[in-house]
Structures are given as C-alpha cells and as structure tokens.
Symmetry: C2
Subunit: 519 residues, 2 copies
C-alpha cells in the first residue's frame, strides 16, 4: 500500500504511480502506440553435465526441492491455476517457506481462487510480502482493505506472459503442478487422475524462471508422451500425495445460466452476431465458461447449424459445448487455452483438432501478432461500463478487487468485442459516468449487449450500418443507462475510496492503466 | 582459412585456435567439466502493434521480404535441411542477395547437401563469406581446399541449437521452409505436397533470430493446426512456386544395405545388444537411416518380437521400419527428430505416439538434461576410430571434410554407444593410431562392431562381463586393427595436410575439439 504521492495522469486520464513495488513504470500511453525495444529475458544457461544422465530428477520431497532451489528471502515464486479452486500446491509451497523461516516472498500466481484464502496467514505473517497477479475473492478483499505491504499488480494472462518474457518480473522458482509427469519432467495436463487439460499458463514460467520444480501425484515412466511442457526446462520433479482436489479442479458439467435476463442477453448477442453478418462461413469466435457465455455458445451453435455455416476455429476455454461443436463438424478446430470440464479434458487428450495453446500463442502482446486479434467475435463480461465504452472487470462498484482480469484485456483485440452485461446488478446500474477501475479502453469495445437493448460504439459505423435494417433493439448507451437508472431509482453511488493505492492494473503492453484504492 | 599461428593444445591433445571467425573460443576441456554461466540470448522484443491485426503477414515476394528484413552486408542467414538434397530455398535466398549486391554474408545452415554445390559461386564471388555448419560433399571439398575466406565451424545438431540459444551465434534472418503454412506463419512439415515430417531443426532459429521469414509452396487458411512452429515467432510469410524438389525431399523407400559385410556388422551389433542384456523390457534405442542402421533396426525388431520384449521409446530419424515397429506395438512411441521416408511422414502426421521433437529436447547440451543420454543404446557410424576409441565422422582419411556431424556427437551420450563400422573401406583400414579429425572422445564410445569382431572399451567392465560367456566374437581394437592391416597390406597412410586451418570441430558444450586442415 502506498499513499497517493507522485501520481501522474496517464493517456486514459487516470492517476497512476510511476514506481510499483520498487520498479519504475510508465503510464498507459494509448492503445496502438507501443513500440518496445530491448531484448527478451534470458534464462540461466545450464548444462547436461549438471543433471543426472539417466534423466531422473525426482527429489525426495517438496521441502528438499525448495531448499535445493535456494529458496530465500525476497524471492519471486510462481504457481498456476490449472487446478482452479482445487489447487493444493501454492499452500504447500508457502507452508514450507514459513517452516524454513523465509520471509518477504513475492507470490506470482497465474490466478487466485477462493481456496487461496488459506494463504492470507502467510501475508499476515510476512512470509509473503505481496502478490503480483490478479486478485480474487477473500485474498482480493484482504488486499483491498490495505493489509498487503506491497502493491497488487493485476495483469491479464497475456500480460503475465509478456512480463516474464520481457524480464519485467524475474521468477526465481516456478512450481508447476502436473497431472502426469515423468522423472525427467515432461508433463501434460491431459492425462492422469487429476487431469485438468491444458497447462498453458505455466509455459512462460518454465521457459524463463531461474529454477523450475514440477510437482505431480502421477509419476509415470519416461516418456510422458505427448507432453505439453518438455522436461528439458525442469530442474526437479516432486511426487506429492495430492496436488489438487479433484472435485474442485474441473466441474463435471458446466452450467448454463437459468436466469431469464441472462438468457435474453445471450440470445440478443447471438442475434446480433448473425444479423450483422459476423457469423459467416469460416468465421471464428471466443466466449468464456460463464453462464451467459455458455448460453451464447449454444445459441451460436444452433444458428450455425440452421444456416449451414462452419467456423474455421473457436477459441476455448473449452467446455462440453465447444467439444460437441467440434465433434459435429461445425468448427475446424478448437484453439484451447484452458479446459473447463471433463468433456474438454477428454477431447484435448485425443482429438488432433483440439489444440493446446498458451498465453504466448493466444494473448502475448509483445509477440509478432497473436490469435486474439484474428477472432471475428469475442463475447466478454464486465462489472461496469461508462458512456465511452470504457469497462471494468476487476472491481465491484464498491472498489474492492474481487475478480481476475484473466484473458479479458487480451481478448478485447478481437474484430468485434461484445460485452454481454445486465443493465443492473443488485439494483446497481452497471452503465455509469465513470468506471471505478479502468481495465479496457472504450475504443476496443465495439458492442454492449444488455437485456434492455444493444449499444454499438459510434466508432464502428460499419456495425451500425450492418444492424440498421434488422429487428435488433439498437439503443445508445445513454438510453440504456437512463432505463436502468429509472428502474433502480437513480444512478449508482460513487464508492468512498481512500487516496491510498493498494494495486495497479497493467495494460497488455506493460504500462499502467489504472490504480486500485484502499476501500 | 588461417595459418596455424596461435594454436594451443586442448585437453584431447589437439591443436586448436583461440579465435574463430573473430570470436574468442575455448579449447575442449574434457567431457563432463562443463559449467556454463551467463544467460541465454534474448530475441528482440516486438509488439502486436507492429504487425497486421488480421494476422496476414504474407509478403509480395522473397526479395521484398528480405529487403524488409533489412538484409545487408555481413549478416548471418540461416536455412534448414528438412528438404535434404531437394532444398531449393538456400539457393533462392543467396541469389537474391547477389542481385541486391549484398556481400560477406555468413550462411548458417542446419546441414549442407550436394544440391548446395550451386552456392559455391556465391562463396567465390564473396556474397557468402563463410559457412558456420557441418560441410558435406562438393561444398566441403571446396572449403577443404582452402577456398573459403572464413573458417568452417562444424557443430552437431545439438550444438547448433546450443550456439543459437547461448548467443554464440546471432542469426539476423532465418528463412524457414514450411510444407504447410498459414498467413500468420503457423507451420508444419507433416502435411502438404512437399511434406517432410518434423521441422525441428528450425526451432532454435525461430525462437532466437532477429527476423524470421517462413517460405511455403502451400499457403493454407489460418489456422494451420496442429502446427509445429507457432506463427507468433514469424515476421513474414512468402509464397513460392517451389520450395523443394519432391523427388529429393524424402526417399520413397529407405534402402537396407545389401552388402554382406554390412549385414554381418548389423547382425553382430544386434546380437551384442541382445546377449549383453541391453535389450530388455522397456529399453530404448536409436539408429540412423543408413543401410547398416536400418538392418540393425530390423534385426532388433525381430529379436524383440522373438523375445516378447517391448521398447519404451525409440529415437528417430524415422523410417518405414520404425513406423512398423510402432504400429506393431513393439515400442511405446517414436521420439522423432527427422523424418526420412514417406511412411515416417504419414505416421508423424496422424499417430499421437509418433512425437515431433527438436534438437532442444533431444540433443541440446546446455539444457537440464536431454533425451540422448537416456537411451540404452545408440548405434552410430564413423569414418575412423583410434585405439583409444576416439572417433572421426566428418573427414575422410585424406583430410577432406565430406560429412556432417548431424546428431552424432550428441548421441554419444547414450548409455551404450556402438560404432558399427567395417574394418576397412576401399582397402584403407579404419582403425588407426590417430584419427585424422577428432569428433568424439573415446571415453564416450563403448563398443566398436566390425565384420571381423567386436571391441569393448576397457572402461566398460560391465559390458565386458556381460559379453563374457556368450558366443560373441569379442576382440581388442588392436587385434581388429592388425587383421585389417594384414588384409590391406599395412596401416593406412597419414594424409599430407597443410598447416593452414580451414575449419574447426566444436564439442557439444561449445569448446573447440579439433581443427580441420587444408588438403
């Protein structure tokens, strides 16, 4: 937590610090002005002469592996969220650090889940100094109240890859949980009792960290083939009793929303995509695994089927419904960054057209292009939107950081970004004069679909023209805002936030887009 | 070519230079003493803002792509040998360089073939200053005669990856030929009219070069999925009429030797592997695609079948015979670095247990272990062997560098390295007091199998014990040497070589193992 001294206004008009956790940073400068120089971070050069020639890198225990990796005060330790709310690895790592008396660690997770509430005690005791990563649930609430001595650095999945690649953050020890792993460290998430599908979020860490430990509850003889991550990147392998709670790793079935309003939003979004001509032979789209997104996916499947249209690819988060679309031949392939249910895991393990990707291929902005910008349509959510289509996805309207960015910022670069949101939640209108936290610049948001109407960004005259002679309920954001305010009894209150800053939202290029304040 | 001043004797007793093509180098220091420090080379950081958001990177022509890449005097240009003796890409690249008046380029191929004789004119004219890479055939002969102004730097496949990774050589422009490629640059060798199988030799180049150009004669819509190399690493894509001569890219069928002596050598090697107990349930081996190696592979297949033994994995170069072994269930998988025939191409495209590898996973010595050292047995060839089991694979006994190192040095690290060689060739004994060029230290060579007997390295008492009570024709190297000299009328003549140096052989860790002299 820092007091709000030395803040400067960035190109989005937001006040942001110039130093974050001791590192000088640059404020956001605009969406397309990024021109990086310099070279990528280099991992330390190792030699086969330093590793067992028989390829057996199995360590006695996680503790001995962490000691051998040189765990000490102030190090950056990374873990990953492939096990989602069933992760049992981060807890074990920091428990060992506490036992060893190590302090002031930086935790660099790929995402935080409610199960990580158990780590709050290590933040309180000083074992963990701060978290660089999107916060969520209880940990987010803890940090929002100013209880974390360092700043939370919120990055999208793509920006996390970029930060590691560019050397913006240097990982000392990466601990990668693998549902199947051999003694050399070859690993996959596609097989094993704790199978979770794609392991993409650990790709950057294994490429660039100083030391890589693979942990598994399913050690198989060499070679674990095909692998997603090669053992050549792994220093040590640890066999644990349990690396995840299977009931929480992936959901057995993914649930479509039953809310009539959400179903209406999904239906309007699907209508928009068909009637504006975005859905056509060879098109592509991405939608998440939330209830509205799943409903949208099913509606698109039905519309593709009815119109005899095939997608060239669909970006996952894969679910049962994407797998059905692939198996029915309605898409050429799934490019999958994250596997959300049992059907996704089954498919990615055997279907050669269900492709494992990583934030490098999909989202990294410091790349020679990425997949996100090639999508014809990306359907996303938001917690708030302002009249310039700027959007928030990390904080509630009370200012607490309760949601991760995920791939949300990265996916904004699609050819048509649709925010599918209710016009109000719990009697609080979500369209407001100013978003509490800016996560996505409005120029990248093309359409906002609510249950009260569809607003098209005035910058997208082509979409306005395409929707003109349809029966779609096109309205301005102002009109939808007014309707919601009438229904809710007025505009939302501004949150009463401290001037103290507890976190920052980075943009995909590493600049600072906004600050998060103590509540 | 340099005169032999400033040479120092390395740990193998060979005189080697301390500077190679202007770069300070270290002499070989021993097999297991390598302790590198420093960090890997970083590629330049690029941004999506600098590339088309629709992912279309197709350039007008190879010439315009090279101009846009900034082709200029002195640059390092890499190409690859996936098309083997059918490569049509290197020629086109240097023809354009000549047209543009560019000079003093360094050509950094992954291997040279006889088809590259066409590039000699660019060496003569000064468009190419020198070649960093194993030489072969006419180009090797040209350089051996002292006609190349710089030194040839001979590296194994693994050492080439290491040199790029470590920044020992910095590639300015990599030109990668892809049998199937999309406009974003995703590519595979497994499909398309010029399909060649695995593209592993270009992996280092695409990761670390300053600029990457993919050339293809088979441009497909995005996504080319599954890809082996991701388009995120590619700057430009060029569509050419022809990137390779299909009749020379891969052989329709791979030929087993018909020579009775070679068949005998292969049979003795197979007998040794079975009778010494190396062949057992779950074992692994590697053999090349030469005639003797193919015969060995077939004999091992028959012996595995007869004994009810299964391999856990076999390393390719894949051929029809490895594919048959996989399909018959005699191996768990093929870990394939290079695809030698149509059956290999067909298999690697569809069989999930036929895994594409690269020199990174298989051979890179500056890695956290690699696959080569985990092999129970590697069967290799050699041009010469001395009484200490030191071996030569690059030069003939007249000193000319006529063969590439390939993965030969890297594969020496297997648990049992067998050199399968005739005791003499063209009436020249191959076992001699001193090898003309040292490529492999004798401590890594375990067994030499000839048609006149099998010699086991005295350092391998375990193998000597294992072979003791068998009917194998175990002899000393001295005995085999004496037999061959009797048959050939005496020991081989020493080549009359100039003191001038025309090339160096690097060891897998980047140190200099030996010098090649002008003939």
């Amino acid at each position: 937590m820092i007091v709000s001294a030395n803040l400067a206004r960035n190109a989005a008009g937001r006040l942001v610090p110039s130093v974050v956790n001791g590192r000088p940073v640059t404020g956001f400068q605009g969406v397309s002005v990024d021109r990086p120089d310099g070279r990528m971070h280099g991992a330390p050069i190792r030699s086969c002469s330093m590793y067992p020639s028989d390829g057996n890198k199995v360590a006695e225990s996680l503790k001995s592996a962490l000691v051998r990796a040189g765990l000490r005060d102030g190090m950056v330790i990374s873990t990953h969220h492939h096990f989602r709310n069933g992760d049992l690895v981060a807890e074990q790592v920091f428990e060992i650090a506490a036992e060893l008396g190590v302090r002031n660690l930086v935790w660099f997770p790929s995402a935080v889940f409610p199960c990580h509430a158990k780590l709050i005690r290590h933040l309180e005791s000083g074992v963990i100094h701060h978290i660089e990563g999107s916060l969520n649930g209880p940990v987010g609430d803890f940090a929002s109240r100013g209880n974390m001595p360092g700043l939370a650095v919120l990055r999208s999945h793509g920006s996390r890859y970029r930060a590691v690649q560019d050397g913006e953050i240097k990982i000392d020890i990466a601990v990668v949980a693998a549902p199947e792993c051999d003694p050399f460290g070859n690993m996959t998430g596609a097989r094993g009792p704790s199978a979770c599908g794609v392991l993409g979020f650990a790709v950057a860490d294994t490429q660039y960290a100083d030391h890589v430990i693979a942990v598994t509850d399913n050690l198989v003889p060499f070679p674990c083939a095909p692998w997603q991550i090669a053992g050549n990147l792994v220093d040590q392998v640890v066999l644990l009793n349990q690396i995840g709670d299977p009931s929480q790793i992936i959901s057995g079935t993914t649930q479509i929303t039953r809310s009539p309003e959400r179903l209406l939003i999904a239906d309007l979004a699907a209508q928009f995509v068909e009637k504006s001509g975005i859905m056509r032979e060879g098109w592509s789209f991405q939608a998440g695994a939330g209830g509205t997104s799943l409903a949208f996916t099913i509606y698109m499947r039905d519309r593709m089927r009815a119109n005899g249209v095939r997608a060239s690819f669909i970006r996952g988060g894969s679910t049962r419904y994407l797998v059905e679309i692939l198996e029915e031949g309605l898409t050429g392939c799934i490019l999958d960054g994250q596997t959300f249910d049992q059907d996704g895991v089954r498919s990615v393990a055997v279907n050669p057209k269900h492709i494992m990707t990583s934030p490098f291929t999909s989202y990294n902005y410091h790349s020679k292009g990425n997949i996100a910008s090639m999508l014809d349509c990306a359907l996303l959510g938001a917690t708030e939107v302002d009249l310039n289509f700027n959007a928030n996805v990390v904080s509630h309207s009370d200012g607490r950081m309760l949601h991760g960015i995920g791939g949300w910022q990265d996916a904004l670069f699609g050819k048509c970004t649709i925010l599918a949101v209710p016009s109000f939640r719990n009697r609080v209108p979500i369209i407001r004069d100013q978003v509490t936290t800016l996560c996505g610049p409005g120029e990248l948001v093309d359409v906002v679909v609510t249950e009260r109407g569809i607003a098209i960004n005035p910058k997208r005259q082509d979409l306005i023209d395409a929707a003109r002679n349809t029966d779609l309920p096109i309205k301005s954001l102002e009109e939808i805002k007014a309707i919601a305010e009438t229904l809710c009894g007025g505009p939302p209150q501004s949150p009463s936030l401290s001037e103290d800053i507890v976190g920052v939202v980075t943009w995909v290029d590493g600049t600072i887009l906004d600050s998060l304040h103590k509540v």
